[in-house]
């Protein structure tokens, strides 16, 4: 009758359901994309109905939303923010800039592909993506969560050395604290 595995499964289902419906976003509003976040959250598009909510600190957040190009300097902050988040955590790249550098593809000071530095779960393309696109990105993320495919945090841990190497390559003064997890 009662089965340990079943119980675990039920717990898993509840957990992933809860995770899926409660996405707390720490929005890293670097570029012009930050302007799209307020309409997404407020009454016009109301992302809260999907349980998406802004979060003040990375400690409480589930989703790191990177809205635009990343200068080398900001990349360091983004990495630190990401590493301060608690697993399970997800990264969303927002706009072309995070995918291939977008209009800044040949800038000396921006990175081109975010997923070389952080494990991105969902990219939202467009320049700028509209709120509808953002929401659809979130829904995609929710799908991935319920399917158990949004394992960016584990990927990051597993390939930490590779990520670090990439990060170190672009960030000259690497004085980040060492993490012991």
């Amino acid at each position: 009758m009662y089965n340990d595995k079943d119980a675990k499964k039920i717990v898993d289902i509840i957990q992933s359901y809860a995770r899926k419906h409660s996405l707390w976003v720490v929005a890293y509003g670097t570029g012009c994309g930050a302007i799209e976040i307020p309409p997404t959250m407020t009454s016009r598009y109301d992302a809260e109905r999907f349980g998406i909510r802004g979060s003040a600190t990375p400690r409480q957040a589930d989703v790191l939303l990177i809205t635009g190009y990343l200068a080398v300097k900001t990349l360091k902050r983004v990495i630190r923010t990401y590493e301060q988040m608690q697993a399970p955590k997800f990264v969303m790249g927002f706009g072309s800039c995070t995918i291939n550098g977008g209009m800044y593809w040949d800038s000396y000071n921006t990175i081109n592909a975010l997923d070389r530095y952080l494990p991105v779960d969902v990219f939202i393309n467009g320049c700028m993506p509209r709120p509808e696109a953002v929401i659809s990105g979130f829904i995609k993320l929710q799908q991935l969560i319920s399917e158990g495919k949004a394992e960016g945090a584990e990927k990051y841990l597993k390939n930490l050395e590779w990520y670090r190497e990439n990060q170190n390559k672009v960030i000259p003064n690497w004085n980040m604290p060492d993490y012991n997890w």
Partner: protein, 616 residues
Amino acid sequence: MVSLTTLYEITFGGAILAFIAQHTIKQLRTFIVIVTSALGVYIVWRLPSQATDISFRLGDFQILWGVNEYSQLFALLIAVLGFFTLIYSIDFMKERERLGYFYMNFLIVIGGMYGIVYSQDLISLFFFWEIMTWSSFMLVIYCCDDAQSIGLKYFVFSAIGAYAMLTAIVLIWANLETTSLSVLFENFTNLSSGLQITVIVLFIVGFGVKSAMMPFHVWAPDAYAISPTPFTALFSGALSKMGIWGLGIVLLKLAAQSGFYVWVQDIVAWIGAITALLATFYAIVQTDAKKLLAYSSIGQLGYIIVGLAIGTPLSIMSALFLAMLHGIFKAMLFMSAGAVFYRTGSTDMNEVTGLIRKMPWTFLTALFGIITVAGVPPLGGFAAKWMLYEATIQSGHYFLVIVLFAASTAAFLYLYRFIFSLFLGQEEKEYADIKEAPLTMTVPMVIMALFTLVVGVFPGIFINPIGNAMGYFGNYTFNWDVSSLLNEWGNHVDMMTVVMTIGAIFIIAAIFITIKNYRTTRYVTTKDIHTSGEIPTENENLTYAVDFYKPFERAIAPVLKRSIDKTYNLIAENLESAFDFLRYVYTGNGQTYALYVVLFLAVLMVFAELIFGIQL
């Protein structure tokens, strides 16, 4: 065989021996001091069963020393606190100079306090009172240059208080021809009513100065802050209680007999409440931990005064309960501040931060201390506060209770600031090598901290002796359970249930949060915090400690703006200039002096009739 004389002989003798030992055999000094205070505890413990009253004539006066329950209560506090603070001082004072001086005065203070509580007549009371005053003054000025003016302020205020008391004693002597307390109590109503109120007011001023009542409190913060910490603990814990001891006698034995009792009660209670409130406000804006605790002491003494002034059995009980408890928790807090000082060399709350991991036992003491001060269950402070509020409400002092509540709520502010600034917050690189205070310091602190917990669960262990002590004031009976509190409307709080509930939930929740994700919960340093991605460097200080309560300060700015201290300073300055002006009489010119002589003669001659009142 123990008797009061042996107690005095041992304590004062120990004081002198300690001084001599310092200059001859240094190693013996600590031993003498500890043995003396331990013997003090033993003798005081045995006194009620063995001692007989001691009576002898000194000059014109009949001196009477005796033990009663009320004295015994305070004597025990003195003895125990004295013992603990002395043990604490072994390591704390190790590196200091002039230890003979320190320990001599320390023991003299203790002896003086014994003398006060055991004296049954006004002359020996005053005698010991002054001994206590000057020896404590000697300790206040012990530390450094800055202490001088502070010590002087302390002594001047003490002297004003003591002399107010002396005036009262003198008036009593002139009118009743007695110095015995018991005779005074019996014959107090024989005095004219004007004299009664004068005596009461003078005594209240006298004792009020020591217990830092509001207009006379200005010496306290500085004196507490600057004196060496082991003494501060005793100072605030026991010495200020001498004022309370006296106020108890004045209010409940003398004032209660006079026709002005209601007025005296109301006025003193309000003074006490305002003391509590304003002292709390001042405590909030302090930046030095010891000064903060000093203001906190003033505030707590305000509560005690309110309790005594209201004069219902429950309020007296709460006052004495708080008095005893305050002795313990304020000693704890001062000791923990002292331990911090011992290790870091500072008690400035803007500088010292993040010691919790370095000094866990000290932190624990401080934590228990602030919980007790705050009056939050389950520690002992709650019982005291609870009784006080119930008594205040039930005796019809409705607005008083609001002031007290306000003070008590505001007290959270400074208490939090104390523990936050010193122990919590960012860990500083500067204090990376700090170690826990030595055992001689932590052991007394932790013992007292555990004691507050015991009192919290079983308030009865305090209530019953205090109930006995209140027999001194009249017929009060308290047959309470050891763990419950009862008010006059019949409502009660069962501390046992409370503590069990809190304990059970706390333990369950603590276990839950600990075992949950035990393996993936990791400890990070206080540098690893959310700083919007910025990485603070090693030398960056992120602590939010300066102007911690700026908004609150802005809110209470009108109160803080006015300071009685400034008024006193102004008075003192003006007086000094006036004195300066006066001494110009002595011009230095011999001829002027001669002129004075001739003028004096002439004036006497001319106004002889007037001056000598004789018809020529």
